[in-house]
């Protein structure tokens, strides 16, 4: 699959990709979950309804971060003890991708980053613990056990077979923020910062009746 279009292996419907590097997507017609292997699309399962969510973002929302325009192309929903949060997969104009997370309308933008050293074992990280990753000092703020609750749009990885996962959130004395995703081996380090809703200059947002 070289272009931005392919056909669903299940129903044959054309599947259009906003992002040519997408690894996981869904067929808009038969709701198949599609995973890309080299040139082929494989149907790995059936798309289930996402849990109800109140994020003001949606696939197709646009914004600006760090002076660069981005578009929301995918989303992963995680559930944890006290509710759920959204990781919106965003695609910048220059082809880079990142994540805009929305947890109770608290927003952060992160990107996959190099921690510069092997990430510590999750067992060793307790809230308040300090560590240096990627040249920056972080404080462990919270460990969240979450459950993968669904996705939509296009993702840079396969998420469909994941279930329980562990995230460790890291804070700093400033706006900088990072999270370690322990669902992969080795774990992934995402670094970025907290952002205010207004500074993202978001467009094509979901509308809430009465608001």
């Amino acid at each position: 699959m070289s272009g931005r279009r392919a056909n669903c292996p299940n129903c044959g419907a054309p599947v259009e990709f906003r992002w040519s590097s997408a690894v996981q997507a869904q067929c808009p017609y038969c709701r198949s979950i599609l995973v890309r292997h080299d040139v082929d699309l494989e149907r790995v399962g059936e798309y289930a309804d996402l849990p109800e969510s109140v994020s003001p973002l949606q696939i197709g929302s646009e914004g600006v971060y760090g002076g660069k325009a981005f578009q929301v192309v995918g989303r992963v929903v995680y559930e944890y003890e006290d509710g759920s949060w959204n990781e919106w997969h965003i695609l910048f104009q220059n082809g880079e991708s990142g994540w805009l997370s929305d947890a109770q309308a608290q927003y952060a933008v992160t990107r996959l980053a190099d921690a510069g050293r092997p990430l510590p074992n999750a067992r060793d990280l307790k809230p308040g613990f300090r560590l240096i990753l990627g040249g920056r000092e972080y404080v462990v703020s919270v460990k969240t056990e979450a459950r993968y609750a669904g996705f939509e749009g296009e993702l840079p990885f396969e998420s469909w077979e994941k279930d329980r996962m562990l995230f460790v959130d890291l804070r700093t004395e400033g706006r900088a923020f990072a999270t370690i995703d322990y669902s992969e081996e080795p774990p992934l380090f995402f670094a970025g910062e907290w952002v205010e809703f207004d500074e993202l200059r978001l467009k094509n947002l979901r509308e809430f009746e009465g608001w």
């Binding site: 849990p51 969510s53 308040g128 009465g210």
Partner: protein
Amino acid sequence: MAVRSLLCPNCGGNVELRGMQHTVTAVCVQCLAVLDTKTPSLQVLEKSKERERVQPLIPLGTRGKLHGDPYEAIGFQQRTITVEGVDYSWREYVLFNPYKGFRYLSEYDGHWNDIKVIHTVPVEGKSGGKPAMKALGETFRHFQTAKARTTFVSGEFPWRVRSTEKVTVSDYISPPRLLSREGNDGEVTWSLGEYMNGDDVWKAFQLPGRAPRAKGIFANQPSPYGGAAVNAWKAALVLMGVWLLILVWTWMLTGRNEAYRDRFVFHASSPGEHSLVTPVFELKGRTCNVEVALRTDLENDWAFFSMALINDDTGQAYDFGREVSYYFGRDSDGDWTEGGKNDSVLLPSVPAGRYYLRIEPEMDTSNTRLHSVNYEVIVRRDVPSFAFFFIALPLLLVPALFVTLRAGHFEGKRWQEGDA
């Protein structure tokens, strides 16, 4: 999306969900059952007692405008701390906007704070020898730490309400801002509040009537004198600068020109007219002061000089009289002196022109002793007068000192409520 609602499993009443899927805990307004919305069965966590019911000042469901955005009051709780056996309760409102998220308002004795959760980790430090926290480029001084418990809940919360649990709450202040740490050991939430007047809350939410009057002084209430004291000192500094400028200006501009000088002798016993008239002398330049100085050789005697500075052309006269007396001696306390041999008088605002002095000395005639005096008269034009400057200087500082005292008093009252 219309307001979602649930059926209360305890009383069957309607429980509105204004916080959408963010709501974790919802309280039935009818029976006060506390419900866990994230459990399918809507588990009843606990139930407040009717007699504990507290009416929120901002009715739940009311929308207001804060920082330009609409927010809806969706939750309300009362929290209580006990200090030296006395309960202190404050109330918190959960405000929601689906785009901007959550804000909180707290109210204690009519004092309000507009609060938002922050994600930065403040750094411990010291301020004036007291524990402090640095966050967002600002230093916050420790004000109070106490164990808070939730004593009443109503409406919705984006977290799991556990009223039995005591939470350590620490407040740090940098008026008008308030930095609060909340949590036990591991998980800690930091929030930043800004003092808000009840009237502004009333305006933001368009509430009927008037906001309850604030009682006492609140931890992060901005001092009405804080900025004023700084401003008063700034003003004093500017005034002192002006003062110095005028002083130097006066010093440089004044000519101190001697216009006339002569010596005379007066014998009290001499017969006839005692007055004399000096030759005409010229007072030049702009209208300014004139100093008339007397130097005498009086010893244990006095003399009175009736004088007039008279304009030779217009006849306008400046009349004045000076008594000069000088006594000295020795008694049980030692040597003493009283008065002085010399005297001078300053006549303000004398226009330029040709002038002369009329001098009429007078001395004691009752005594058998012969009274006489040698005296010198000196007329100087444009003499700097600095007495005024040195009277003015402390006056310039009075407002600043006053405001500083008031500010100190205010801070004293503020810290009475804080931890020692």
